[in-house]
Assembly symmetry: C2
Homo-oligomer: 281 residues x 2
Amino acid sequence: MRDLPIGFLDSGFGGLTVVKESLKQLPNESIIYIGDSARAPYGSRPLSEVRQYTKQLTAFLMEKGIKMLVIACNTGTAATLKELRREMPIPVVGVIHAGSRAAIKVTENQQIGVIGTKGTVESHLYQKVIDAKENNMTVHERAVPRFVPIVEEQRINDAETMHIINEDLQPLKENNVDTLVLGCTHYPLLRNQIQRVMGEHVILIDSGAEAINEVSTLLDYFNLGRSSDDNQKNSATQAYYTTGDGEDFAHFTRQWLNQPDLTVQEVVIRGDEIIDYSNEK
Amino acid sequence: MRDLPIGFLDSGFGGLTVVKESLKQLPNESIIYIGDSARAPYGSRPLSEVRQYTKQLTAFLMEKGIKMLVIACNTGTAATLKELRREMPIPVVGVIHAGSRAAIKVTENQQIGVIGTKGTVESHLYQKVIDAKENNMTVHERAVPRFVPIVEEQRINDAETMHIINEDLQPLKENNVDTLVLGCTHYPLLRNQIQRVMGEHVILIDSGAEAINEVSTLLDYFNLGRSSDDNQKNSATQAYYTTGDGEDFAHFTRQWLNQPDLTVQEVVIRGDEIIDYSNEK
């Protein structure tokens, strides 16, 4: 069991920001990732649909064999964390609680901003989680639906991008937040731009990176950590799957994780199932 | 169950650094604390004895009723975490794993210093936990048995204190550590002095404060968090017990937690039990 990989799922590329943190903090752990690029972005879909897709991705990862599931997607977390925790035989980690905890820890003026997809913001889960822990905080939630397409379409360095970010974050600047939760795992890819707009005094919380702290805690708690005894580290594995274009996904992933030899396997959505045909050859 | 307090135990005052972080990050949670000042410090006692004492403190807290146990003492964690996790019907949190995780996260030169009591250092638990997660780290463990008495005897501002700290930390400065784990919950009370000796470039990890992150994670995971609905926050309670001198303990605790009205109850060690006579009046 301890040698099984940790499974990560996301609507597309975003969850790779969580994987990057896992490779850094937990290098002995094997990982398996699936990005649902064919149906990304999830953010503006009804939560019932997001729930259905998330469960398909989960079933795919369970079929491959995992010891822990990370919903490396805020919209997916909002839609399914509670349900999956109840149903799954392994620990399930989302990204919203971890981001909320970090925000409570660092804010000094009790004005916390949260940016996310439409689905995440309309679920008000950040607001609820923060309120339940510390009800003196004011949480300013704001949907910024234009951010994910910028990342998925790799328009990060386009001239128009700074303009969009500047426009969409204005209300939060006016709210005088001293802490801003990047409530979507795609946003850390726009971190520099967001920091420039918000100003250096605002602390940006990467909810995905914080989630790895939670993963590490639960690995310890349930004694599920893969140990580095016997030089196992060298045999920690990584596997990447996408429902979208494999080459496109690989191009991005190699750059982001700085692994030029990384390969990505295309998988196919058939009815309610996600199928890895390469496995059946 | 969710309304029960979180129990904290320590050999003396040190665990109050963990409580302070709990009051900040989890203000809705009730807490109950016991410090075994009559038998402090634990650091140079055999681990078998520390185990026996820790279990007595645990039994006392369980009798009072708690939903989670925090071993707010590194020596106690080294001696009993594994055993208590197996035996207890509630989640048990120690301080060593949390401190290790934080150190791995922040170090840039992979040279991690750990200071602790003799018991903690000789258990090599920091070394083991860090190695298991990331075996490229070099961990420099060092026992500094003169630190705890400085805190317990409230000699923090004495002239000799800076001299002792400077002398005891020299080897770690020579090891060129960029991260230093304060592997005893008493040490954050000497934080300014330690920072001055190590230099501003060294990041100090407060293992106790990090443990609250773990507490918060497990409260969420097991759905044990006390919610702030219905203005419950106002009724979150705090109770402090000591096996030592109540007035002495109260004096220190009021100052440290900035709560001038706080009271401390003396309890008595009788054979293998710790008894709260005030309860039996």
